[in-house]
Assembly symmetry: D2
Homo-oligomer: 346 residues x 4
Amino acid sequence: MIKVGIIGATGYAGAELVRLLSRHPQVEFGALTSQSYAGKLIWEVFPHLYGLVDDRLEELNLPELVANCDVIFTALPHGHAMPVAEAVWQQGKRLIDLGADFRLKDAAIYQSWYKTEHTAVDLLASAVYGLPELYRRQIKDSRIIANPGCYPTSAILGLAPLLTNRLINPESVIIDAKSGVSGAGRGLSLKTHFSETTGNFQAYGVATHRHTPEIEQELSMLAGVPLTVSFTPHLTPMVRGILSTMYAKLNQDMTTGEVLAIYRRFYEGERFVRVLPEGMLPSTKAVAGSNCCDIAVTVDTRTKRVIVLSAIDNLIKGAAGQAVQNLNVMLGLPEDTGLDFAGMYP
Amino acid sequence: MIKVGIIGATGYAGAELVRLLSRHPQVEFGALTSQSYAGKLIWEVFPHLYGLVDDRLEELNLPELVANCDVIFTALPHGHAMPVAEAVWQQGKRLIDLGADFRLKDAAIYQSWYKTEHTAVDLLASAVYGLPELYRRQIKDSRIIANPGCYPTSAILGLAPLLTNRLINPESVIIDAKSGVSGAGRGLSLKTHFSETTGNFQAYGVATHRHTPEIEQELSMLAGVPLTVSFTPHLTPMVRGILSTMYAKLNQDMTTGEVLAIYRRFYEGERFVRVLPEGMLPSTKAVAGSNCCDIAVTVDTRTKRVIVLSAIDNLIKGAAGQAVQNLNVMLGLPEDTGLDFAGMYP
Amino acid sequence: MIKVGIIGATGYAGAELVRLLSRHPQVEFGALTSQSYAGKLIWEVFPHLYGLVDDRLEELNLPELVANCDVIFTALPHGHAMPVAEAVWQQGKRLIDLGADFRLKDAAIYQSWYKTEHTAVDLLASAVYGLPELYRRQIKDSRIIANPGCYPTSAILGLAPLLTNRLINPESVIIDAKSGVSGAGRGLSLKTHFSETTGNFQAYGVATHRHTPEIEQELSMLAGVPLTVSFTPHLTPMVRGILSTMYAKLNQDMTTGEVLAIYRRFYEGERFVRVLPEGMLPSTKAVAGSNCCDIAVTVDTRTKRVIVLSAIDNLIKGAAGQAVQNLNVMLGLPEDTGLDFAGMYP
Amino acid sequence: MIKVGIIGATGYAGAELVRLLSRHPQVEFGALTSQSYAGKLIWEVFPHLYGLVDDRLEELNLPELVANCDVIFTALPHGHAMPVAEAVWQQGKRLIDLGADFRLKDAAIYQSWYKTEHTAVDLLASAVYGLPELYRRQIKDSRIIANPGCYPTSAILGLAPLLTNRLINPESVIIDAKSGVSGAGRGLSLKTHFSETTGNFQAYGVATHRHTPEIEQELSMLAGVPLTVSFTPHLTPMVRGILSTMYAKLNQDMTTGEVLAIYRRFYEGERFVRVLPEGMLPSTKAVAGSNCCDIAVTVDTRTKRVIVLSAIDNLIKGAAGQAVQNLNVMLGLPEDTGLDFAGMYP
């Protein structure tokens, strides 16, 4: 059994990790920490776990936790995973960070978008961007995994075949993304207050959202040239799910079928990316509760644009599920260990 | 491997059964039938199953299906399971009926509430009411299981300890139940049309709902005397879940703690009934996606009434999950085989 | 033009009052106060008012506000309207309090349920319970109106004809009430956090909710004898609306039609109480956005109980709309002035 | 009093028209027709109107209706308003068509997108596109008004200042639009079934939606050159509202403030277009229940794109409210007659 520690177990991503790992056959909990609820049993905070997980939440004792665990997960606001990474690194353990601290390879870009000093710059080169469909081999051998952001997961998986195969103009990419409210976390605010959010669809962070440089970094690498994108996130009155609608100019005339064939080849054998048959479109409900990313492609011959739709469950493939997938890759387990379930429908 | 057939695989209960059984380690599908979608692949009808279940839906060929399967599930409107039961019985197979045809022991009561002739009266005596927490031993040896209705599951589990222990006046029971809209099925109607249902809370079937005699039959048996109840179902603007609020007059002064102790004893060792600690109340979200029934009890000393709250996922413990639990009991498997997951939260 | 002041204009009831009164032909705003948002324009806090109401929110200066306004509305947590009432009384102005401070005639009961000292006991005898359908004449001449609670409005209107006409056993009354989340106000909490509340139905305040003594006071007066009730409020995943399901034992055999006839007579000529035709049931959606209370009655001959359903918009008939109705009664205006609109559907 | 007839009074747009016009001071109903519910009282179909509108729904008798009414509204599926228009035209009455039959000036384009023959081509030249903010003068004198589609209303109002002022590349326009489910009407389908739609965000009609040519026609006229757009509609799990997110390449460097100033000038004096202050973004909730269109603009200097957000209530400014606004323009009434209300929030 692998002993895991979860630092930040009572945010939504952390709690989802607890739920998933509590049924993972190779894992046991070394420690679950929570700043707000230390001392409580986890099910006092998350009632769905009553009778299933009986661990008590603790305050973080970093040296002890790292010493005691084989793999450490951090599900913390940005800036808080850096000291953990240092400790993990020094003690030869492994870290999967669900936050933003190790996603950007360039500390200057991190600092300019996150307005936070990066205090573990020396570790950036050792960190691997934890998108298994693209970086499986690197993840296997890495000790610091930067679990991707929810929006970037949907955008990068959606656009990778186009850019890798040089099918589109890299400067033409527009990503219009819509997320369920759980993406905003468990922290209280009017933006996530039931009466304000129900029946309410709205954009936020227009032209300023912090997932922009993360998307641009990864897409630029795939394209082989630096590119910028327009990325607009929206809040949708539902709990789980992201749907990203992406637009780009095709470099040449192609049919939907031709583009789809390229996608199918690109994702062949991938358990968690489902390239949908022509005529079927993704929906957040079809992936909610699962670790799948559903993708559809449409070529609009009138405008010579390709429109890509990709859907994920933001808390699973966009956070905790992908973290478990990364853990499985690291441990050499079948990638769907503990993740082999269908979404919940309806 | 046990070969199962599901007759009516594309209603919500049927599809949930497909989802659950597709991950059950001891089961394989013999046949999935659908009147509306015969000829299609199941994932063309339920997109969450894409890549996970590849079975093709068929029209029902009853003799062949029964011959070919060990256990048959029916998830059909009332009246349609009777001929299936006859065929199953004759061929020595086993039936778990998610509909109403074998729940009422008295055919006359069935006919008066369901306005349908009962054509398999001879089999009624062989049918067992499939509430494992009450009838585990009988289920094990039975060949016809009447899987309980969703409302009755929540009501009976909520009231059983009170009536069995003669703590309340049997004529004082009021059950005010609230269900998510998935309980109304996948059939189209204005009552289940998104724009009419969202933001809308309403009662229906006041004093006439067909689950009333089922509840009364089971509560009367527990009480040892015939009783009638007031049962009012309501439609709640959410997809999954039932919460029943139940009121009854206590026969003697008791504290909440005393009543709770009786509940804990009654459900000791039950994996799927969670008697909540004092101060914690059930909610549909805490059980959604799980096979659990959560129960809380409050004694109101001002009115000398006891108020019981019980919550289930109507499609799981209220339908497909309970059916799998019954299957496990029948087969002598651990009762949580294929059901060992927490609910999804948030 | 009547000059009105609203103390507490940025809670949901206060903001709804601003919306309604901004279109009232006989009213202008003297002052809108807000503790949290003083200094801001009202539409910076409530974007639907942009371009329609340009008033600036102020901190409360009680003497000045009272001197400057003809009618003062308080939409404050309990305990805060008492000093306002004293000032209003002394200066000969009129108060409509949307909070709880003047609803209970017995200060001892107030103190025991609200855990707050009542500091304006001398004014209690002058206060009138502002349910126009019952107390229209007294409201007209009063200077302190205690605007009823949202749950009590639906419960009292629903039960008044039965108790006034001595049709039921007064000790048998059970009120199972379901409210939209806006009833919990604009204050932030996990209970009203979108991701926790969506898809979640739950009870709260079981046997302890503060609207209980208010309901009991009014029902006792109608019945002519002191009575207690079981009252259970529930939180429903929708924004607006209350549906109360009420149960009582009939004193004699009656048909639904006979009871309905009594209701029709009782509410004859009432603009805002709609006794529905037999066969039609109330729903929160049919009243959302309106000042109506919809009522239906069903006699269950099996159990000899009558089941009453009543629905309101908690923020309108249950708060701000009823306050405007009270204002109209006070001023001798047609009762639907500024309230003559249908609900919004769907 | 003006006598109006509504043909198709029991779809959502028709019913909203009934609600709005029932409070319009200059209007009385000549006839309300319904194919599905002829013979019923309107409130038997729409319970919010109980006690407020008592008209009986009739089958359409076209000659009689036209003879009897001054202004006729059609709220019908495409193809059904043409014969009505012929009759209205011949009898010298006026028509406001909420459907698509008279929006496209080119019958060939109509036929190619709607797969329906246009049988009133002779009247197309007399029809005016009923967007009062752009065509107020023509509407005043016209006898056939083509009330704009819901998506086009939000898109055209959002982009008009940019195109009229030649600020953007006309070939760069992308419109990513999100609608509440009421836009799909009252007709039953799995797409609008509560359990399928709740918690579900999805695109539909990708590159094929029929509002595309309508948007292109109007934007081309504003731009002075023919243009094509990418238009992707999405279904959002809420009842009312459209938010359109629009992207275009700026022809020159500009600041958000500069663009906003142009918008403010363009919409100066418009009662129903609210150009939001910098830093404030539209949301569907802020306009739900009102006839307003809220607009915000952001310049992204990194990508040299301008991002425009515009929000409307699809049933009001996107349908029935705009029809009433057109009626007011036609009749020379203040444009907000019967429309002078704030949205409902929360």
